[in-house]
């Protein structure tokens, strides 16, 4: 099967910092997590895929076509990046989600079609924020906002969602709510997910595949139980941890070990 997204020998980044030798392929329907310490290049990788950062070397293919050859709007119809930043203007939630239809507007089309509006409402229903449609985005709680951001991503009708720490700053109930939603979108709509996550436990629990970055390179890639072992975590994060198995899901989870328990 042809990969949806394929990255070959990628080198990219800021002058002071580079992603090196990234080789990666994401198939349709994958639920992929990107993990790694702060400054390991997770966000840079996501920005390079979404075209905000130009690769210095190497190529990125979307369905076999190099992404720099793909027109921006066409790209936005295939891959949606979910925002972390609320708009500064006083936009209503429904208007905000409708902005996700912009890549689908035809030349000289000025207003949303009834289908656009229906779709926006459907996306809001799917993420459980339909009742907020007349509220101002800036006044929503961070959990509600995150669900709304995902709804806007869905309104782009993409094949793949890119998310940069979608559960940062959320409490555990909202974290689970968002991750459950992403899982459901993945299994029911076949939406491919590529998610940067800080929380190793959530990453291990939900992702089918994990990409562990260290200093701009892929350190390990595989299923959660292959990637999250106490050896790799200790090597990459330079922190002592205990890794156990979740009794329900049999997925790995990480327990921190404070330094006072460590005897040298």
């Amino acid at each position: 099967m042809e990969a949806l997204l394929e990255i070959k020998d990628l080198v990219a980044g800021y002058p002071s910092f580079f992603l090196k030798d990234i080789n990666l392929s994401v198939s349709k329907g994958d639920f992929c997590g990107i993990i790694g310490p702060n400054g390991s290049g997770k966000t840079t990788l996501l920005k390079t895929i979404s075209g905000l950062i130009r690769p210095a070397k190497g190529k990125i293919y979307l369905k076999g076509k190099e992404i720099k050859e793909i027109p921006r709007k066409e790209f936005a119809r295939s891959i949606a990046s979910v925002s972390q930043e609320p708009p500064q203007e006083d936009l209503r939630a429904e208007e905000y989600v409708l902005l996700g239809r912009i890549p689908h507007f035809r030349r000289f089309q000025f207003f949303e079609t009834p289908r656009d509006r229906e779709l926006a409402l459907k996306c809001m229903e799917l993420t459980g924020v339909l009742h907020l449609k007349d509220r101002i985005v800036g006044e929503l709680s961070s959990g509600e906002r995150q669900l709304l951001f995902i709804a806007r991503g869905l309104a782009q009708e993409p094949e793949m969602l890119l998310l940069d720490e979608p559960v940062a700053h959320l409490d555990i109930a909202h974290q689970i709510q968002v991750m459950d939603l992403l899982k459901r979108l993945n299994s029911e709509l076949g939406l491919t997910m590529l998610i940067v996550l800080h929380d190793l436990n959530l990453a291990g629990e939900y992702c089918e595949r994990l990409i562990l970055l260290k200093e701009g390179s892929i350190y390990r890639c595989g299923t959660p139980s292959e990637v999250i072992t106490y050896q790799t975590i200790e090597e990459v994060y330079r922190t002592v941890v205990i890794v156990r198995e979740n009794p329900l899901s049999k997925k790995p989870f990480v327990l921190p070990v404070p330094s006072r328990y460590i005897r040298v």
Partner: protein, 328 residues
């Protein structure tokens, strides 16, 4: 949602009626009052008053107000900040410095009155290049920093204009003073024509790009993710803001705060969606400046106030109000 759209169209229509109303009010009021009968059936004297005194002024007020408001909308979306506009960013100051240099060099005698818009645009463009370079260097420019820089640019420009005035000979001085006091009292039809042309073509351009502007108000990265070529769009918008400001200032002199007051009110009434904000600001800007000018020239007849007095008082107060609300 459909209700919202209908409401906004009604709002636009209401603004249109307001402009028509302001137009009639301005036609009939002045040192010589003109009755409605005279308006329909004018004698020679009334005809002259209407066509060579009041109408040019009305047309210029409408197009200048519309241009300044559109420039305000563009800058507010580009900088994602409701307090920036041609005057507070120093664009108007730069444009007026350009025009003063033009008068000093006597370009208006060699190229003609077309030199005014050209040098006005060049002055505004220099300011934008400077602001752009500074904000690029410091990453994202903070609100206070940007506004302070703009105010300083205005100060520097007006000081330089005074320097130019001190250096120029008497004949040149007359031209500069006349222009600086410059109000909407302009009857060079080609200049008015340029102003009208620029305001209408900018309106069309912005309407066609209003969806991209909607994306842009979410910020650079978000607009990029929605498939907008942000760098190219930003460059074109900066250019357009300079064009609108430079040309307007070169014809009317500095009229502050129109670009702040009008978009602010339109936005609070019809929302931030550019598909309505742009035509709304176009109409309301023209109407606002026309009303302000009618007030300025009739409130203490026979003395005529500069229109900047009226816009300055309303706009300055609103500026302080928004600033307090934002920080409070």
């Amino acid at each position: 949602m459909l209700n919202q759209i209908i409401k906004r169209f009604v709002f636009l229509f209401f603004l249109f009626l307001l402009v028509i109303g302001a137009l009639f009010l301005s036609l009939i009021t002045g040192p010589v009052s003109i009755s409605v009968q005279d308006l329909i059936n004018p004698d020679q004297k009334t005809f002259t008053i209407i066509y060579s005194i009041r109408l040019p002024r009305i047309v210029l007020a409408l197009s200048a107000g519309a241009s300044l408001s559109l420039a305000g909308v563009i800058l507010q979306t580009l900088f994602r900040n409701p307090l920036v506009e041609p005057y507070t960013l120093g664009l108007s100051g730069g444009a007026s410095l350009g025009v003063a240099l033009n008068l000093l060099a006597g370009l208006n005698h060699t190229i003609g009155s077309l030199s005014f818009p050209l040098t006005g645009f060049a002055g505004a463009f220099m300011v934008i290049l400077f602001l752009y370079a500074v904000s690029l260097k410091r990453g994202m420019m903070r609100l206070q920093g940007l506004l302070l820089t703009g105010v300083m640019i205005s100060f520097i420009s007006s000081s330089l204009i005074m320097l130019i005035m001190a250096l120029s000979r008497i004949e040149g001085l007359h031209g500069i003073i006349y222009w600086m006091m410059g109000s909407l009292d302009e009857n060079v039809w080609p200049l008015i024509g340029i102003s009208v042309f620029i305001s209408f073509s900018s309106l069309l351009y912005l309407l066609f790009n209003s969806l991209s502007l909607n994306a842009l108000m979410l910020g650079y990265e978000e607009a990029h993710h929605l498939g907008i070529n942000v760098d190219a769009l930003k460059k074109r918008l900066f250019f357009l803001a300079c064009l609108l400001t430079g040309i307007t200032v070169s014809i009317t002199g500095i009229i502050g705060f129109v670009g702040l007051v009008v978009p602010h009110i339109v936005r609070s009434l019809s929302g931030p969606d550019h598909r309505f904000l742009i035509p709304g600001s176009f109409l309301a800007g023209g109407g606002f400046l026309l009303l302000a000018d009618t007030v300025a020239r009739t409130i203490i007849t026979p003395v005529e106030l500069p229109v900047g007095v009226v816009t300055g008082i309303t706009g300055g107060s609103l500026f302080i109000y928004i600033l307090l609300k934002k920080s409070g």
